[in-house]
Each structure stands twice: as C-alpha cells, then as structure tokens.
C-alpha cells in the first residue's frame, strides 16, 4: 500500500536517517522510541508535511486518504464541530454519526475550545474518520490525558480499528502497553540519525512481552 524510502532528513544536523519500510492494509503499527528522537518527524514525513522529504520517498501516498490525529486538536477554533467535520467532506448526517461514535453526541454546535482536552481530541479523531482514511496517523493520542480518559480513548480506537479491517494505522507512543492493545507490528526508532532499529510483527501472544523486554533493555543501556 505504502512504501517508505526516506533517505534522510536534515535540520542542519541529521535528525532522521534512512527509513525503509512497507505498510500494508490492516497494518497496526506502534512507533516507539525515546522522546525527541524524531517520531513526529517521521509521521510528518509520511503525511507529506515535511518539505525536505521528497514526494518520491513515500511511494503510494498520492492515492491514499490520510487521517492525522495531531497532538493538539487542530480543529478550526472559529468553526463548530459540525462545520469542522463538514469541511473535510462529511455530510450533516455523517458528522452527527461520527460525533456519536466518539461519544460527543449533541456537541455538534460547540466550538472546539469549549471542550475539555479529552473531548477535543475525540472530536479531532472524528475528523480523521470523516475522510474515510486508508491510513490513520496518531501522534501520542493518549498524552496528557488522565488514566480514565486515556483508557476510554484506547478502547474507542481499538473499536474503530476492529470495524475498519482495511485501514492501516501508525501510532506514535512511548508506552509499550498501548502497543499491546492496538498494534500488530512494532517500530522502534532510535540512533543518531534515527533509524528503524526494529520492525517486528506481533503475532503470537507473549511475543510482545519479549519485544518490549528487549526495548526496555535497550533503553536502560541508553544507546
């Protein structure tokens, strides 16, 4: 579906090294790695937001619809939730159904900044779904949420993944527990410049524990 041939990404000093990978429909990838290593940079490169990464480096993106859940909600603050969803192509009825799906039934006329952080993030998730995405990009979807809200959102995303078997997902997180629930594939980004250290499928139960154990070991050695 999507092939990454990123040759490197420069901010004066290289941040992102070579990243080669393919993403297939139904892939649920959790992108792990130390903070500041360039996980968001890689996500932006995949989304086509990074001007220094040429379009040819992400083969197949042109045909894909992408839903991107940014760390901030990035809804238009001067438009209601309804209007924000309609702007990306949802009909009135679809907007209502999507808000209901993310637990914001009846909030359609609210402005984004009238919502709590958790609600605004769910509204932004509804916008991701409004484009009927082939690829869902999530940038730390559970960051700065309290454990209860984070748990609810995790269950919500897991449900969405179940009902969209063809959709691919890449989720940036620094919590291996998220990967356990959401992912069937694990990316670990590390090094200077950052490369994918591991690209492992999570198949049998128990394997993920082994993988996470390896990750923890790596973190401890601080390499």
């Amino acid at each position: 579906m999507l092939e990454l041939r990123i040759a490197g990404r420069d901010f004066g000093q290289p941040v992102l090294g070579e990243v080669f990978a393919t993403i297939e429909r139904g892939d649920r990838i959790c992108l792990l790695g130390p903070s500041g290593i360039g996980k968001t940079t890689l996500l932006n490169a995949i989304a086509g937001l990074d001007k220094s990464v040429p379009d040819e480096a992400v083969i197949g993106r042109g045909k894909l619809r992408v839903g991107y859940l940014f760390q901030e909600h990035r809804l238009l603050p001067w438009r209601s939730l309804d209007a924000n969803l309609r702007l990306v192509g949802a009909s009135d009825r679809e907007a209502e159904a999507l808000l209901e799906q993310v637990g914001l039934s009846g909030y359609g006329h609210y402005l984004p900044d009238q919502l709590s952080l958790g609600m605004a993030r769910r509204a932004a998730l509804a916008r991701c779904l409004a484009v009927k995405p082939d690829l869902l990009l999530l940038d730390e979807p559970f960051a700065s949420l309290d454990p209860v809200m984070a748990g609810e959102l995790k269950a919500l995303i897991a449900g969405i993944l179940d009902s969209h078997p063809d959709m691919a997902m890449i989720c940036v997180t620094h919590d291996g527990g998220d990967a356990e629930i959401l992912a069937n594939r694990l990316w670990y980004l590390d090094g200077k410049p950052a490369r994918l250290q591991w690209d492992d499928p999570i198949g049998e139960p128990g394997l993920i524990d082994g993988l996470l154990g390896r990750l923890r070991g790596l973190d401890l050695t601080g390499s």
Binding site: A47, Y68, F70, R74, L76, L115
Partner: protein, 258 residues
C-alpha cells in the same frame, strides 16, 4: 474593560460635546464676526444645503469615491500583504517599494496622477488607492507572517482547496489585521479623497469646501464638516462595530465545558 485604554462611558460624550457647542456659541456671540458663525447659523446652512439637494449630491459623490477606493485598496493591499508574508522572495522584491510609497506624501501622488492622466475620475481614485495600498499591505503582511503553521499542516493533510484555505483558515486569523487596516484605511481615505476633490474634481465635499474657502463662507465649511463627521460615525457604528463583534465571537466562548 474599564481599564485606562478602554472607551470612556457614554455620558461623557453627552456632557463634553454640548459644553463645547455652548462655548462655541458664546465665543461667536462675543466676536460677532462672519469668520466664526454661531452654531445656529451653521445648522441653518446645513438645513438649506440639505433641502436644496446640494449636500446629498456632494456627500454622495465623496462617499462613492471612498467606497470604490477603499474596496480596491483593501483587495490589492490584502493580496500583496498575504503574498509578502508567505514568500520571502516576494517580500524582498516589494519591501523597498513599500518603504518608498509609505514615505511618499499623499499630495505628490495626487498631483502626479492628475498631471499624468488628467483631471479625471480614474486618476482621482487611483491616487487614493496608491496612497492606501502600502498601509494595508504592511498590516496584512504582519498577519500573514503570524499564521499558525499547525493549522497550515492540518489544511495540507486534509487537502483543503485554495478557497477553503483562504476563507476558513486564513481570513479568521487575518481578521484583526484586516479590521486594523479597515479602520486606519477609512480614516486615511476620507481625508485623501477630500484633497483629491479639492485639487481636481467638480463634485464632492472637498470641492464644496474649496468653493466655500474661495468666498470665506465659514458656515458652509463647518456645515459640510459636520455632515462629513456624521457619516463617518454612522459607518463606524452601523458597519464596523457590528462586524467586529460578530467575527470575534468565537474568541470568547461561554464557559468552557467541564
């Protein structure tokens, strides 16, 4: 809102302005000179000019020039400002010209336009537009530079069309700058239009002031000035303030949802 920078309470206008009129009436009564007519004789002139239709004809001509010049100047200035704010190359190209135009006295533009194109309407309006465009461009450029890159990325990911990007993402962010340009713009354009009319047109408030000046008809000068001030205030109250209120509503959401 009751800070030192805010508007004074309404009653102060109802005390200060009538007091000023009384003072003016007293001075005029003491001097008994045709060069300072009493408020009553100015009012008399105003009514006479209005009844004859002269006032409306000239006020209308001035208003039409202001509207055309304003719309053109805002459209051109906004376009230039946005492009300059978004592209460093364009900025490098236009900025020296802006510095030149910003420091060019309005009178010079007016004279040059009349000399080059004759005493025609197009030259008059062009002179006003050329005077105003640099101010609009500089103001809007500031706004375009401060556009939120996070919303830009969002609009890119969600494949907003050019029109959607302009209308939904840029204009709301540029709105305070557009309002500032509008306010400053109207104030400037009103004044320049009068000079343009005084120098080369045969209609408009500026032309009437010119005629009154020729015969030292101070009552007519004051009568036209008052009518002029009234129209400007009307535009402020009926158009600008409601527009500003309407478009900044999203900034003060009712209590945030808990």
């Amino acid at each position: 809102m009751k800070g030192r920078s805010g508007r004074p309470p309404l009653w102060s206008y109802w005390i200060v302005l009538p007091s000023f009129v009384v003072l003016w009436a007293l001075t005029a009564w003491l001097l008994q000179s045709p060069l300072l007519p009493t408020p009553l004789s100015v009012l008399d002139t105003l009514i006479r000019e209005s009844a004859s239709g002269e006032l409306w004809h000239h006020l209308g001509a001035t208003l039409a020039r202001v509207v055309v010049a304003f719309v053109l100047a805002m459209a051109i200035g906004t376009a230039i400002g946005i492009v300059m704010g978004r592209s460093q190359t364009t900025n490098a190209l236009f900025d020296p010209l802006l510095v030149l135009l910003l420091n060019l006295p309005a009178l010079v533009t007016i004279i040059l336009m009349y000399v080059w194109f004759g005493l025609v309407e197009v030259a008059a309006v062009m002179a006003v537009v050329i005077n105003k465009v640099p101010n609009v461009a500089v103001t809007v450029r500031e706004g375009a530079r401060s556009l939120d890159y996070r919303l830009e990325e969002m609009a890119t990911v969600y494949e907003f069309t050019r029109w959607q990007r302009l209308r939904q993402v840029w204009v709301p962010q540029l709105f305070p700058y557009l309002m500032a340009a509008t306010r400053g713009g109207l104030a400037l354009i009103w004044k320049i239009v009068l000079v343009v009319e005084l120098l080369g047109r045969s209609s408009g408030v500026g032309f009437q002031l010119h005629m009154a000046f020729q015969v030292f008809d101070v009552a007519a000068i004051l009568a036209y000035s008052l009518a002029f001030i009234a129209v400007v205030q009307l535009i402020e109250l009926a158009i600008l303030q409601p527009l500003e209120r309407r478009s900044s509503r999203w900034r003060q959401p009712e209590a945030a949802h808990a």
